[in-house]
Structure formats: C-alpha cells, structure tokens
C-alpha cells in the first residue's frame, strides 16, 4: 500500500535517500581503494583518470576532440615541437579529401629541398606559403620526427586562421549525434 499521509511519506523518502547515500559512499570508497592500489603499483592516478574519461567517449568523439585541440593549439602557437597528428590533419582536410579522393599517401614525398635542416622560421614560412598556394595541411613535406614538421604545421594553421575568412566549420564540433534508442 502506498502511504498517503505526508509524515510517513516524508519519512520514507528521507530514509530511502539516506540508504542510497550510504551505498554510494561505499562504492566511492571502493573506487578510492582501487585508485590507491593502482597508484602504489606505480601508475599515475591522474593519467588513469584521463584514460577513463577518454574511454567513455566513442572513437569518433575522441578523435574529433583531439583534432580540434590540436588545431587550436597550432593556432595559438602551442605545438612546441609536437607536430599535428595525422588525425588532426584528417580533420582539417575533411572536405578537401572528399573532393579529391586522395588520402594521406601523397605526403610521403619528402622533397629533396626540405630534406636538409632548415630553421624553424623558414619551415613556418614554407607552411604559410603552402596554405596560400592551396596546399593541404597533409602535404607537410617534413617527415615525422623532423623538428621542422611542427613549424610547418604552425605556419600553415596560422595562415589558415589569418586570411580574413570567417571561422571555418573545421573549428566547430559536429553539432549533434542522434541519440541512441534508450528505454522509452
């Protein structure tokens, strides 16, 4: 029977909530215990927490997120020697890729003129120039590991952000994902 006088109902609500709070605290304590165990095993708790956050995303979300971060980082000059990932390149070149139908393969063409060491400033200038002449970010001529690769990226992105265009769609997250069917 459902209680229908206010005092008893209030009491019932309060007690149910209290019981659930106890349960939740117990689970929380278990979480803490496992975290502490992991920490004492030598793992970094913060990084583990980050992994758990990322694992909660779908692959698409995760990739879009990190691509966006890299794009913004490049624009703000925060690459610091870590060039954009292939993922970010793909994100920025999304539409062009569709149009041209070619993938990332044409980037494996280390032009001889960039094979020898050049200064970061020069690489940056080359990146900017590349953007202006319609090259895509995936056409970065410097191979992985080359310190000039990041500089070229920065130059390209900076130019891409400086040409007076409005903010292009690559800077935005995909608007929404259709909700998966849950319980009605």
């Amino acid at each position: 029977m459902t209680l229908n006088n206010s005092q008893a109902r209030l009491f019932s609500f309060v007690e149910r909530i209290e019981r659930l709070i106890v349960e939740r605290r117990e689970v929380s304590e278990q979480i803490t215990a496992v975290k502490s165990e992991a920490k004492h095993a030598g793992f970094d708790p913060k990084v583990i927490a980050q992994m758990i956050k990322e694992r909660a995303m779908t692959d698409d979300e995760r990739q879009e997120w990190s691509a966006l971060c890299e794009l913004y980082r490049a624009s703000l000059g925060m690459l610091n020697g870590t060039p954009m990932s292939d993922n970010a390149r793909r994100h920025v070149s999304r539409e062009s890729d569709e149009g041209r139908g070619e993938g990332v393969d044409d980037m494996f063409d280390p032009s001889p003129e960039s094979a020898h060491a050049i200064s970061p400033a020069e690489a940056r200038a080359q990146g900017a120039e590349a953007f202006k002449s319609g090259k895509r970010v995936t056409e970065n001529p410097f191979p992985a590991g080359d310190p000039s690769r990041a500089s070229w990226d920065e130059g390209w992105c900076a130019e891409a952000g400086s040409d007076g265009m409005d903010i292009p769609p690559e800077w935005r997250r995909a608007p929404k994902k259709a909700e998966k069917g849950e319980d009605a």
Copy 2:
C-alpha cells in the same frame, strides 16, 4: 578595429579570459584570507558561511526557509527538546490566522492542568489530540522552556501529517517572487 581573422580573434578571447581568471583568483584568495582571519579570531567558519547565505535571502525568504525546516524537523521527530519557533507556528497557521483574525496572543494561557510536569509521551498525545479537535499549533499550552512544549509540537505536527490529507501548501515554499526591476 575588430580583428576578423580567426587566429587573432581566438588569441584575443583566450587572453581576455585568462586575465579575468587571474582577477577572479585574486579575489578568491582575498576571501580565503578573510575567512582564515575570522577563523583565527575564534569564529566558526562554517557558521559564518551559513550567516552569509542567510543574509543573502530577504527576510521573508529566510523566515519561510527556517519555518519549513522546523516543520519538517517536527514531522521527522527531530525537535529533540527544541520546540518550534514562533516563526514556524506562524507559518503553519498562516491561513487559519487570516480566518480567525487573532494572533499569537491566545497562547499565553497555560491551562492549569498542564502546568504541572507531565511525561513527554503524554504531552505528545495532547498535541495530537489538540490537532484533531481543530486547535492550531499556536495554542500549545506549554510555556517556553518547558520540556513538554517540544513534545506537544511534535504530537501536533505528526498528527497533522498523518491524517490522510494530501500535502498541504504549508509544506511548500511560496512558488515565486516577482523579480525586482533591474537594469533593462
């Protein structure tokens, strides 16, 4: 001139936010400092925080809040020897008061039969009985300081919550306050 390329605009936004965050942190640190000063002066920080919260309410809000708390406390048997305040009595008897036009003055009539000490259970029973016979909570016959006063309150409130009625409006907060005219 408004910057109209995305990189420069992004940079501007980020820097403005960062500057404001610094400002906010400074203010927060000042708050912490004052709180700590107060604490070392011997005041209880939590109670001070509570006072600040209450001072942020209007008098009406504050009174309604504490009256509601007391009403719920009484229903849950948490009065523990601290009888309901006049404020709570007024809240619970809001409507009756309008109808009868009398205030709290008729409560200063310690009936002779309750003047001598009785057990808490008996006081509780009297309170419940009083509710059933249509008495208002302000008619508690026990004077302030009398340990039976709280018990009578509890009896009255418990009965008021047990009579099968739906939850009466006294249990709810006044729905909305008309917003005071701010800057347009």
Copy 3:
C-alpha cells in the same frame, strides 16, 4: 596469480574503476529519482536535503550547530522577530548553569513591569542592561510569542559581544569528537 606485467595490470585497474563508476552512477540516478519523486509528491527538495544533512549529525552536533547559528544571528541582528530557542539559551549559558545549578525554570517569571507592551528598542535596552547586571540569557522576562522577546535577546547578545572581552568559548564549536570504534 597476480598479474605482474604493467599493461595487464593497468587494464585491470582501469576496468575495475570503470565498473565501480557505473555502479556509483546507478546509485546516483536512484537518488535523483527518489528526490524527484519526493518533489512531485509536494515536498521541498532543498528542505529534504537539509534534513538529511542534519540527520547525519548526532543530536549533540545538531544542537550545537543550531545554537551557534542563533548566537551568530542574534549578534548580527538577524533574529527578525524569531527569538532565540531554548537550545541556544542553554548553549550560551552552559557554564553559568553548572555554577548555579538551576535550570530554565526561573525564567517563568514575567515581571509585571514587562507584561504590558513596550517598544522593541526598549526591550533591546532591557536585554543589554540585563547582561550588564550579570543576568543570564535564559532570564529573558518576555514569554514565547511576545514580540519583545526577540528584541531582548538581541540586546543581551549584542551587549555580550560588545564588552571588549575576547571571543568566548561559546562562539566556537566543540573541537573534536572522539571517533567511535569502527571496523579495524
């Protein structure tokens, strides 16, 4: 066998944490559901939350807390017609009571001269005067429900806080409670 290679151990930790997080979220959702149920039944969710907080305290803690709040309220002039509770009076008079051995009973002596209506300011002055002449806060001559009762309280407390003394122990919470024996 305990896994002893880092990859597998990391994976195990992450999965255990994830599973527990799911559990915790489920419990949290149940809490939300019950709260929402209570709300739709007509109870005020905030007040319920407050009750749960208070029920988590021991009686002593709760009484000390509310007594402290009232003391601070009185000092800040926030009583607004709700006189201090017996509980707060007891708290403030803790030590004197031990010394004198008398309880609250000597307060049921509405002196004839205060029986007729006086102005709040006058009541306040009487309270201040009472403090100066060594009277205790429990000796408030105005009965419950009398609007002058709160004013007298305010006068007494204000005077008690203005006499140049350092902050007395009544303004502090009892330092610590010895922890009850839990599971080892």
Copy 4:
C-alpha cells in the same frame, strides 16, 4: 582602530566577505560574457577551456602530461589509428637517448620490407618483435600517415608492458618541480 569586541568584529568579517563575493561574481559574469562572445564567434567553448588549462602549464609539464597520456593510451589499445607523437616517443626513450647520444634521426629509414602495405596485426607483431630485439620506440619504420605506424606503436608498447618488468619510471610523472621563488 581595531575593533576588539566580538560582535563588531564578526560584523566586519561578514561584510568584508560579502563585498568580496560581490566582486568575484562580477568578474565571473565578465568571464561568462567573453566565453559567450567567443562561442557566438564560432569557437568551441570546451576546446577554449582546454587551451586555457594547457597554457597554465609550463612546456615541460604539458609535454610530460601528453607523453604519459599517449603511453597509457597505447598500452590500453586506444591509439585508434593515431600513432604516438614524437613527444611521446622521446619521453619513452628518455634514458636510452642519453646512452646512445642519437636523436630521432635514425628513424627515417623505412625498410623496404615495410614499405608496402601490411595488415595492422602484422604491424603490431613487428612492433612487439622490435621491442624484444631491443629496438627503441623511435625506430618505428612506418612513416607518418601510414596506418601501420599506430599499430606498430601499439605492438611495441604492449610488449613493453608485458615483459614482466616492474613498472618503469617512464610511466610516472617527474616527482616534483622545485618551486619557483615567489613573494616571501
């Protein structure tokens, strides 16, 4: 003059805190306004927040953080086609680099046998094999953009985490940074 009675001091504390809270709220509102402006300009607010967080770190912290994240990601099989960054490679090979004195340059040696397309599983196996034969993670033979590059990374890292060794120091953050001299 310093107030030395408790009531006045309490009042002073409360008012100072309240004033600061108002200030803080104002700054907060300005932050909200700028964020909203940025959002309407087409930037992603979350990513901006992330950038601000990262800009608050030193370069070293940021690089260590992201390197650790990638290492953990690789171990958990979360690379998903995004190979480890040069930064992460450097982190993992920190000590070896000191010993061998060579940088990342010896990785530009795409062995002919890996130049043609192979399956992810095969690339993974090659990575694991490479670890077992003492190769460093920087010796990934697949060039940037090659889908096999990530798989090789995963294989290498998985093997590095599976060989029964205790968790190596690369998995931990650098213990502490000596605090920069602040105001005394």
